[in-house]
């Protein structure tokens, strides 16, 4: 809780005193030095954008006395970042923003970390997935698309290998009895351009990755992989809004998938430290910049902390285990 500058100075002095004396104190914990947000993915992707947006919001609204930096550690499908945070036990100045590779990387590549290694902080949002095709193509809905795809040879471009895009592709294949040629690319922006340039037949891009091309009339959304249509009614492309996109299930394609955009801390963080960051993210969520970001990316704005969040994460882990087992993506060694 930061009130005036003078008060916060007093708080800082108190916090330093507490840190030095090492006694568990009633005073609120606060970061003592620069807070690092690790992004286990490359620059420009969804997780990176969100981390940098948070960094900007925290700086602009002065939500924290210490500064915040964003560090990309994308190596080994994100294991570089996860292993770094796992190895920083007891360091309360390191957070990691997760995407689905929290589950898929240890399952798919046998890396030595799991979601249980980290201290959960909060889920900030869930990222949606939409089935996109090039607007020059004749198919206007899921049924027509799947019929065309049944002839075989359709190329699906996606981000990464054995990660969310390929898992969704495998789920579509199973649900609809079709076969795609899946080609992995490094980032969502690149994937969208492959579709615009007709080098692929479909993608399952996140809304924020493809929205510019939708507005430009180059892409057509067929369905969203969520249980209910998106809540955003603002007109985006002609008369269409995010809410105009039907769910895949309602179109006869029974696949649902949402991706975690949440935060974890290094192992061994105390409840006071977790509370500080939960409060910080609450303040971030209240800013207009955050609302704009949610709006632009048509995010699902579910917020979770504590036990609820832990349970959600553990359910999601089991679900990924099953999805990946069915698709044959589990690591063999």
């Amino acid at each position: 809780m930061i009130q005036s500058k003078r008060n916060s100075l007093l708080v800082a002095a108190a916090a330093v005193g507490v840190a030095l004396s090492g006694t568990p104190a009633a005073a609120q914990w606060e970061p003592q030095r620069t807070v690092e947000i690790i992004v286990p993915a490359g620059t420009g992707g969804g997780a990176d954008q969100m981390a940098r947006a948070i960094q900007g919001i925290v700086a602009k609204h002065n939500l924290m006395k210490q500064s915040m930096i964003v560090v990309n550690k994308a190596g080994g499908a994100g294991s570089e970042g996860f292993l770094d945070v796992k190895g920083s036990a007891g360091n309360p100045h390191k957070l990691i923003i997760t995407l689905s590779n929290l589950f898929t990387t240890p399952l798919g590549t046998n890396q030595n970390f799991s979601y249980k290694d980290f201290t959960p902080v909060a889920m900030l949002a869930l990222d949606e997935f939409v089935l996109w095709v090039n607007s020059e193509k004749p198919y206007k809905n899921v049924k027509e698309f799947l019929e065309a795809a049944k002839k075989g040879g359709f190329k699906m471009a996606g981000t990464g290998s054995r990660q969310e895009d390929q898992i969704i592709t495998a789920a579509i294949e199973k649900a609809a009895g079709v076969k795609f040629i899946y080609t992995p690319y490094r980032g969502g922006g690149e994937v969208a351009v492959q579709l615009v340039g007709n080098h692929a037949d479909a993608t399952v891009n996140n809304p924020i990755e493809a929205v510019a091309h939708w507005r430009g009339g180059k892409l057509r959304p067929l369905c969203v992989f969520d249980g209910k249509p998106l809540p955003y009614n603002e007109k985006i492309a002609g008369d269409l809004a995010w809410s105009s996109i039907p769910t895949c299930k309602s179109q006869g394609l029974d696949v649902e998938y949402l991706m975690l955009r949440g935060f974890f801390m290094s192992p061994g963080a105390t409840p006071e430290q977790v509370k500080f960051y939960v409060d910080l993210f609450q303040k971030v969520r209240a800013t207009p910049e955050w609302k704009d970001l949610m709006n632009n990316g048509a995010f699902n704005t579910t917020f979770m902390t504590g036990k609820e969040y832990v349970e959600w994460v553990s359910r999601e882990h089991t679900r990924h285990l099953n999805l990946m087992k069915e698709a044959g993506f589990l690591s063999t060694n």
């Binding site: 940098r52 960094q55 700086a59 930096i69 080994g76 290998s161 080609t183 992995p184 507005r215």
Partner: protein, 515 residues
Amino acid sequence: MAEFVNLFHGFATVLAFQDVNVFGMQMYLPFNVFIMVVGIVLGVIIGVLPGLGGANGVAILLPLTFSMQPTSAIILLSCIYWGALFGGAITSILFNIPGEPWSVATTFDGYPMAQQGRAGEALTAAFTSSFIGAFFAVVMITLLAPLVAAFALRFGAAEKFAVYFLAFASFIGLSKEPPFKTLAAMLIGFALATFGTDHMTGSLRLTFGSELLIPGFDFLIAVIGLFGIGEILLTMEEGLKFKGKEAKINLRIVLDTWKKLPQYWWTYLRSCIIGCWMGITPAGATPASFMSYGIAKRVSKNGKNFGNGEIEGVIAPETAAHAAGKAALLPMLALGVPGSPTAAVLLGGLLIWNLQPGPMLFIENKEFVWGLIASMYLGNVVGLIIVLTCVPMLAAILRIPFGIIAPVILMFCAVGAYTVRNSFFDVVMMLVFGILGYVLKKTNYPLAPLVLAMVLGDRAEEAFRQALVGSSGSMGVFFSNALVSSIMALGFIALFWSVISAAISRIRGVPATAS
């Protein structure tokens, strides 16, 4: 000409006087011009420090800009980027340490020039070439933005691989060393590029169970080691002799050099075109600089002298690198796909300012887009003036005795290597690469093919495999349409031309190896 009207609106945006609060003082000044100067100076400093790099610099400073107008913010960030492009050449020429990956090719002739006491001349040529390359690219962006964006869309995986293939092929004839040594060096580079993550399957390669090797070898670590540390080891062996102290240090050197430059107009034009093309496709500034150097060496009448301090060997890579650096912004603005790591960070910034890059940006945010383009014109002029006035000062650095400057360079190298990933392991690897660089130099293996293969190796592999996945394994995909076929054909011509010309010169009894 709607473009020109838009552009002049852009100039008006940039030059507009505003009431601003600078360090507590209320002032009325062209704020955007002020920001431009600050950005360029910061960028030059960032470019000089190896490892820090434009992308990191922009990423660190990005949050500072959130309270600004989007147009001012992008001007600041892009000027840092332009500044870093200028700055990268400085350490390459003075100390053989490329501050940025795209200035590696500048060291090949720039450093020998500095050793001959022509540091001022090399710096002037480098800065001027940067300016010309950048200016050409900006003019192209102004006039051809929509056309160019449409062209970039035609590049799928097969086309991208063809571009990389052309880059490798056109480079093979560059080396003065025996072809097998060139090939060996290139293969070492490819091998180094395979460490770490296999992006196609997500599995790990050659990590030997160690977490340290998961990210693979960063190109900058290798470059700092191979060139910077390797050079220091060589100089130590030669008895700490200091070579650059004859450097002239007055501003006349700038004018004298300028008199020489117009005769290289063809090199300029060719490098500009190569640069723009590589920036859009998007292969980026680094391969553009290598390719331009390789082709210049092949077609120049002074080609034999390349590598011994030929001014054309500085002009070609610098012009192309900067043309590519600027051109890389176009795919970002028009398609939302960054053509370089720095452009990727700028892209993150755009989204925070609520500007959605893509085809609609040019229609919906005219003021922003044309303000940015206008700032490219002005930023370039401001940048050139700033760096040129620094030439005598920079050249004077070489007068410092080697015994003092060497430890400072070593420290900068170590800090640079550490900054890349905040890892001490990288500093150790830098020293290992330094020893490798020393050994390769002593045994006359060329470093350039190694570096090129290391930068482009994994990208080329990825494009190759993506294309083959899409075609279900048929190699026919590399000849499946006119665009990809013609790029591949060009590549093969470049590749076999060098073999043929080597064979001919051997038959005639002219040794193909000079050094």
